[in-house]
């Protein structure tokens, strides 16, 4: 009996996106939605409509390139390599974390609006 928690319907959107991206990286070359679907394990294969929806979403995010295929339809490829994507994720996490730590100082520092107004007033008075 199949454990329902393993069925594609129970995986989160983020998990499915990650799996599609991993499939694209493994492919190493532009692949169609059907080819990407075929890389999933048999008992965890999402429907082709689901794969197409995810690819469309990733394309809108800029994570995936879309190009017309020779025989009609489209092929997809990753916009960044796996290592570039991992680095980007790490940097995103670091940037997000900088809001929480006083020790990390940013060039575009987050000044309090009251201090911004005081600075403006001081400049206008000079």
């Amino acid at each position: 009996m199949t454990d329902k928690s393993d069925t594609p319907a129970k995986r989160s959107r983020g998990e499915l996106e990650n799996e599609v991206m991993r499939a694209l990286w493994r492919a190493g070359a532009p692949a169609s939605a059907k080819e990407i679907q075929a890389t999933f394990e048999h008992d965890a294969t999402p429907a082709i409509t689901t794969v197409l929806t995810i690819l469309d979403r990733l394309h809108k995010k800029g994570s995936v390139f879309k190009a017309p295929a020779a025989g009609g339809g489209f092929v997809f490829s990753a916009a960044q390599s796996e290592s570039e994507s991992a680095a980007s994720t790490m940097v995103s996490a670091l940037v997000a974390s900088s809001d929480r730590s006083a020790a990390l100082l940013r060039f575009a520092g987050q000044l309090d609006p009251r201090d911004v107004e005081a600075l403006r007033a001081a400049l206008e008075a000079d």
């Binding site: 670091l94 990390l104 575009a108 520092g109 600075l119 403006r120 400049l123």
Partner: protein, 280 residues
């Protein structure tokens, strides 16, 4: 009696410095013209207040401890003895409570910083770095224009490729110098001290002022250092471009502040409104 008066004076000085000084130091244009002096004034008041309180406590405890050896000593009179006992014992309880509070508040902040340094170590290991005047500068591929400094143990400046593309070489050097100043002058430690102080005393307006003002002053100090090294125009241009990219008007004001300061120091015959505009 003299000791009791000394103790009360120390406590009074502590209250004036810690509670009252922020209301004086938080106003006036001088803060923006002389941010280093302003920051030094803030922390002299803050640390001086703590020192005065500690001195009062030590004096009181010493007087209570040694009073029975001196029949004509400072315990003469009910007022003096009351002050010394209350301050001495009350101070001990307060110090104990403060230590517990600081420890409780410090640990989550320290945990956040440890995680950040681990993240930074991972990022730095995956990307090239160059050494710029004693500091490692790591450029990372990222589609947001961004620069930040990470203090010890990482001791590093991080710059994104988006920022690299947006600025000229000398403007980017000004940004790196700005971040390098944060590291060299330990602005991260100062900011953390202010953050911890506010976490321990959230109800005190002075603590909120101190944290807010610290964040502003360290940025102005770093702007000035970059302007001294790379020139006010290049630093101001970098700020203006970042203002456009980050949609942050405060950066334009910081640029204008540098230009105004440069005009003030220039000989009158050379003084002219510097046109600071986004290039390209």
């Amino acid at each position: 009696m003299a000791v009791a008066v000394t103790v009360l004076a120390c406590i009074g000085a502590s209250l004036v410095l810690i509670v009252g000084a922020p209301f004086v130091l938080a106003h006036g244009r001088w803060r923006f013209r002389f941010p280093r002096l302003a920051l030094a004034s803030w922390y002299t008041a803050f640390l001086g207040g703590i020192a005065a309180a500690a001195l009062g406590l030590v004096n009181s405890m010493a007087a209570v401890a040694f009073s029975r050896d001196a029949p004509t000593g400072p315990m003469g009179g009910w007022f003096a003895s009351t002050v010394l006992v209350v301050v001495g014992w009350g101070g001990l309880v307060a110090v104990g409570g403060l230590v517990a509070l600081v420890t409780t508040r410090f640990e989550p902040l320290a945990a956040t910083d440890r995680a950040l340094h681990q993240q930074m170590a991972l990022v730095a290991a995956c990307h090239p770095s160059t050494r710029v005047r004693g500091v490692d500068v790591t450029v990372v591929p990222f589609d947001r224009a961004f620069a930040m400094s990470i203090p010890a143990p990482s001791n590093r400046v991080l710059v994104t490729t988006a920022l690299e593309r947006a600025l000229t070489a000398v403007e980017l050097a000004a940004v790196v110098e700005h971040e390098r100043t944060h590291l060299r002058q330990h602005h991260g430690v100062i900011a953390q001290l202010a953050q911890l102080n506010r976490a321990c005393t959230p109800g005190l307006a002075g603590a909120r002022y101190l944290e807010r003002t610290t964040r502003m002053l360290v940025e102005l100090i770093a702007d000035d250092a970059a302007a001294r090294r790379l020139g006010a125009v290049h630093t101001a241009n970098a700020l203006v471009k970042m203002a456009h990219l980050a949609e942050d008007e405060s950066l334009t004001l910081r640029a204008r502040r540098l230009v105004d300061a440069s005009n003030r120091h220039a000989p009158s015959r050379r003084r002219s409104p510097l046109a600071v505009r986004v290039q390209g």
